[in-house]
């Protein structure tokens, strides 16, 4: 698979390590009332859809940025690639 890095252009997926569902960006609030439940779901439960999947890839052998890749996991086709930083900021995070 070729991942079209927003800053570096097309890169071999071998340069990346894979973390999983991009929902991992949204870490629950550890002080919330329901923190135990929220962390259980955050850590262990996955949608695992047989179609489009937003996922985190880390450019370990490259510029060390985290990317959010939208990929059809039934065909391996990559639809879009964004910097995880940008995605997190859109969600109101500082970084």
């Amino acid at each position: 698979m070729i991942i079209n890095h927003p800053l570096l252009g097309p890169r071999d997926s071998q340069e990346f390590t894979y973390l999983g569902d991009a929902g991992l960006i949204e870490r629950p609030d550890w002080q919330a009332e329901d923190a135990a439940d929220a962390f259980y779901e955050y850590l262990y439960l996955r949608d695992n859809p047989a179609g489009l999947h937003k996922e985190l890839w880390y450019h370990e052998q490259g510029d060390r940025s985290w990317l959010v890749v939208t990929r059809n996991i039934s065909s391996h086709e990559i639809i879009s690639v964004e910097l995880a930083r940008d995605v997190a900021r859109q969600k109101g995070r500082s970084k």
């Binding site: 698979m1 071999d12 997926s13 071998q14 894979y18 973390l19 999983g20 569902d21 259980y40 779901e41 850590l43 262990y44 439960l45 996955r46 949608d47 695992n48 859809p49 047989a50 999947h53 996922e55 990929r71 996991i73 039934s74 065909s75 391996h76």
Partner: protein, 416 residues
């Protein structure tokens, strides 16, 4: 029809006119007592033991394609019971015992061959870990032998012993481990279940559940609604997709694992050998092909095919373990979808929905588990209580922190 040597001779003398199909192709009925989703090894074994050991009636197995089209027909056929943790080892040893009597039990030649599984170690620390594992196995009454480098050399002189970086220091041998003809396992269970009245419904895809007031009343399928008092789901790599029809999110990700077979060669490998410095395992089929594999590709996938980087990685593992493999040509390769769980161990449990039961999370090690998984799932479906060897395989172990994490990798499915 019972299969026997006598039968083969009789048929040979009478022009092979007496063989009949090994299972029926029935029309779905509108209502069953128990419906098992998934005609892989686990689903078929579940139906077989439900009928044979738990005296259940009116059972159907629902398979979206043909039986054996999933992982049961795609794996590298290794069976073993060399686990470390208490939640696992008695279960896998139960499975090994069932393998040992399976062919007589279901009257089908599954080519169960206990040719031994040898895990190699390449450092002192790894040998310590293997000693511990071997001791844990023995405490559970399982056979385990620790070999030094000389012991390994006697068994497999062709290995790369004096590699500067990863010399072979020894290995842990389970003599009762080995290989089994994988498709024959599906066929044997299917035939055994069918002859006890189980309906095997092929080309019938489950597309939803009918759930009312928290109770599962049956399944929607491509061939219409099929009612059932109890529904058991055993769809391996498709677990996430199928259970989402019931609104469930699972502690499972789907990943692709590839397997490889070389051209047929004269017998060179005594049993199963696994490399301890990279992920590579190899055995030789009775047709002579070297059957081998390595890591999963490492990213979520439902595609049933992998990519080239892992092919290269697996071949590098093979070359560094046994350089002679470089002379063999690769004949075929393929992929299967693995239900990778968050701690690398399976789930056989009730769900929050009445009448709906789940079996999955087998990662890339579920073939060896087939007989015990079928037996334990049948036990759960028939009695509503877990089998004694499967009490740890619960959904709530993640919430309670009772993970069965053989590799100590944490909630990172692509590392298990």
């Amino acid at each position: 029809m019972r299969y026997s040597g006598f039968r083969v001779i009789k048929e040979a003398l009478t022009g092979h006119k007496g063989w009949t199909p090994a299972w029926r192709d029935p029309e779905p009925q509108s209502q069953y007592d128990i419906v098992v989703i998934g005609g892989g090894g686990h689903g078929l074994a579940t139906a077989y033991y439900l009928a044979k050991e738990f005296n259940q009636k009116r059972i159907a197995v629902i398979e979206k394609g043909w039986i054996g089209s999933g992982n049961v027909g795609r794996n590298t056929t290794i069976i073993r019971s060399n686990y470390l943790l208490d939640g696992n080892e008695p279960f896998y040893e139960f499975s090994m015992k069932l393998w040992e009597g399976l062919e007589q039990d279901f009257n089908f030649n599954a080519m169960v061959s206990q040719r031994g599984v040898l895990n190699l170690c390449h450092s002192d620390a790894q040998r310590d870990a293997m000693t511990r594992r071997g001791n844990a196995m023995r405490l559970n009454g399982v056979d385990a032998e620790l070999l030094d480098a000389e012991g390994v050399r006697k068994m497999a002189p062709f290995l790369n012993f004096d590699n500067a970086r990863f010399p072979i220091k020894g290995g842990l041998l389970q003599p009762r481990g080995g290989t089994v003809r994988h498709d024959a396992v599906a066929w044997g269970y299917a035939r055994g279940a069918d002859s006890r009245g189980v309906d095997i419904l092929q080309n019938c895809e489950v597309t939803g559940f009918r759930i009312e007031n928290g109770k599962c009343l049956g399944v929607e399928t491509s061939r219409g609604f099929i009612g059932a008092k109890k529904v058991g789901c055993a769809v391996a790599g498709s677990s996430g997709k199928v259970m989402s029809f019931a609104g469930m999110r699972l502690p499972i990700e789907s990943h692709v694992l590839q397997a490889f077979v070389s051209e047929g060669l004269k017998p060179i490998l005594p049993g199963v050998i696994t490399y301890g410095a990279g992920h590579f395992y190899v055995s030789q089929s009775d047709k002579g092909g070297l059957v081998f594999g390595g890591d999963i590709d490492g990213y979520n996938s439902y595609a049933q095919r992998g990519n080239l980087p892992v092919v290269e990685d697996v071949c590098e593992g093979g070359m560094s373990l046994m350089p002679m493999i470089g002379r063999a040509r690769l004949l075929r390769m393929w992929g299967g979808i693995m239900d990778m769980s968050m701690d690398g161990s399976p789930i056989i449990d009730r769900t929050g929905i009445d009448g709906l039961y789940f079996n999955g999370g087998w990662c890339y090690g579920g073939f060896k588990a087939t007989p015990a998984s079928g037996w334990c799932f049948a036990h759960l479906l028939a009695t509503d209580a877990p089998h004694p060897t499967a009490t740890a395989y619960r959904f709530d172990r993640f919430r309670k922190g009772l993970m069965i994490d053989e590799k100590g990798m944490g909630a990172q499915p692509n590392l298990h």
